[in-house]
């Protein structure tokens, strides 16, 4: 019996390997977020990647660029600082390709991230939670210096990180919207998503597109710096590519994570809530056009916190957890 023709093609694609299937994520309109009829709000669901986060694109790019450059071969131990998602993505890819992985991660991330890393076989080294991701970066750099047998991709400084978005995320968005992109909002962590997409969008669209960074306002218990000179700016960040840079508190990020769930049915992580909040602010300022924001990861890895069901003020360690 002949099957009826598919209404949507290519229905996600067909791949010979899980690593090959990374990317090609859906773009979904969020109509309840639209402040007026002419402004259309779109979510790029990076949560649909194999390990549930945008970092699958980055991890694949980091490993495959190193392979192409002859820097690593199976058996080589990989070392990387991460607040979790890059570690999980690297762990999956390294286990597929035969690289032992050691990750350095703050000790106050959610327990699900630890479980996911162990599940894929990664070894975890914890850094002091009160130093946030800065502490993980500093510890990993020290470990790499002390033991040259490690290969550290270093997502904060490796051009393969933004390249994954320049060649992947951005062209997919341009394709889906026929090049009609007026504003783009993403989270600022390593800067990879923002820099890669911004460079591609500015090249293709010029000043028509507004590039907006949403960044975490680290809770006070996470600001464990002795001096401002302990600060850290990821080397791949070029502020001249940004038109706006707006911070979001943990509390607002959680409130908007719930709004995505309750109003749009989108089960996303806390960074996506923060980015959605900034996207709503930018959408309010627009008269018409398309605004795209990134849904960085899914909500599963934050489930134990209770943030999807508890009132926001009852979420434990709201300010001291590294949510994103």
């Amino acid at each position: 019996m002949a099957l009826p023709p598919l209404e949507r093609r290519p229905c996600g694609g067909r791949y010979s390997d899980i690593v090959e299937s990374i990317g090609h994520t859906p773009l979904v309109e969020l109509k309840r977020m639209s402040p007026k009829p002419g402004v259309r709000v779109w979510a790029k669901l990076e949560s649909a990647n194999p390990t549930g986060s945008v970092k699958d694109r980055v991890a694949r790019s980091l490993i495959e660029e190193a392979e192409a450059g002859g820097l690593i071969a199976p058996g080589q131990t990989i070392l990387e600082p991460t607040s979790g998602n890059t570690g999980v993505s690297l762990a999956m890819i390294c286990s597929r390709k035969g690289y032992p992985l050691k990750v350095v991660m703050p000790d106050n991330v959610t327990p699900e991230r630890t479980e996911l890393l162990r599940m894929y076989g990664a070894e975890i080294v914890y850094s002091p939670g009160d130093q946030g991701s800065n502490g993980a970066v500093a510890m990993a750099l020290e470990m790499a210096e002390a033991d040259p047998s490690f290969y550290m991709p270093y997502q904060y400084g490796n051009p393969a990180n933004p390249l994954a978005h320049y060649d992947g995320t951005a062209p997919e968005i341009l394709e889906e919207l026929d090049g009609e992109v007026d504003a783009f909002v993403a989270g600022l962590g390593t800067g990879g998503t923002l820099m890669g997409c911004a460079r591609r969008f500015k090249e293709e669209l010029g000043d028509r597109v507004t590039i907006v960074a949403a960044e975490p306002m680290q809770g006070e218990p996470v600001q464990g710096l002795r001096s401002l000179d302990d600060g850290f700016i990821p080397p791949i960040i070029d502020l001249s590519l940004l038109d706006r840079k707006i911070f979001v508190t943990n509390r607002d990020a959680v409130i908007w994570t719930r709004k995505l769930l309750d109003e749009e049915g989108l089960f996303a992580g806390v960074s996506s809530g923060a980015i959605a909040r900034v996207a709503a602010r930018i959408a309010d300022e627009m008269d018409e056009g398309n605004i795209v924001f990134i849904v960085c990861d899914d909500g599963w890895r934050y489930l134990s916190s209770g943030l999807y069901t508890l009132p926001v003020d009852e979420v434990e360690n709201l300010e001291s957890t590294v949510w994103w």
Binding site: T82, G189, T190, Q218, L228, F232, L239, L242, V248
Partner: protein, 92 residues
């Protein structure tokens, strides 16, 4: 006068206060008023060339002034400035 929120790392230099008021019609003027009232903050906030210290982020109503007009960004009477150290973060 604008309100300036002080991060934990700078509080010892302002007598332990979490926020202070400072006068000025631009970010540069407000921060200059702050460092004149609390001289120990000068080296942390400003670089030798008079620009912002590389590892200081200053936000006007949540927006980073570096991608607005920098120290020349206009400040209103009821505006809030937040000083934060540069930190890595964001689902990395």
């Amino acid at each position: 006068m604008a309100t300036v929120r002080i991060p934990p790392v700078l509080r010892p230099a302002v007598g332990g206060e979490r926020e202070v008021s400072a006068a000025g019609s631009s970010v540069g003027e407000v921060l200059t008023a702050l460092v004149e009232a609390h001289p120990e903050t000068r080296e942390q906030i400003f670089a030798e060339d008079g620009d912002l210290n590389r590892y200081v982020n200053v936000y006007l109503n949540d927006e980073d002034v570096r991608v607005l007009d920098g120290l020349g960004t206009a400040v209103g009477e009821s505006d809030e400035l937040v000083i934060l150290p540069a930190m890595a973060g964001g689902s990395a």
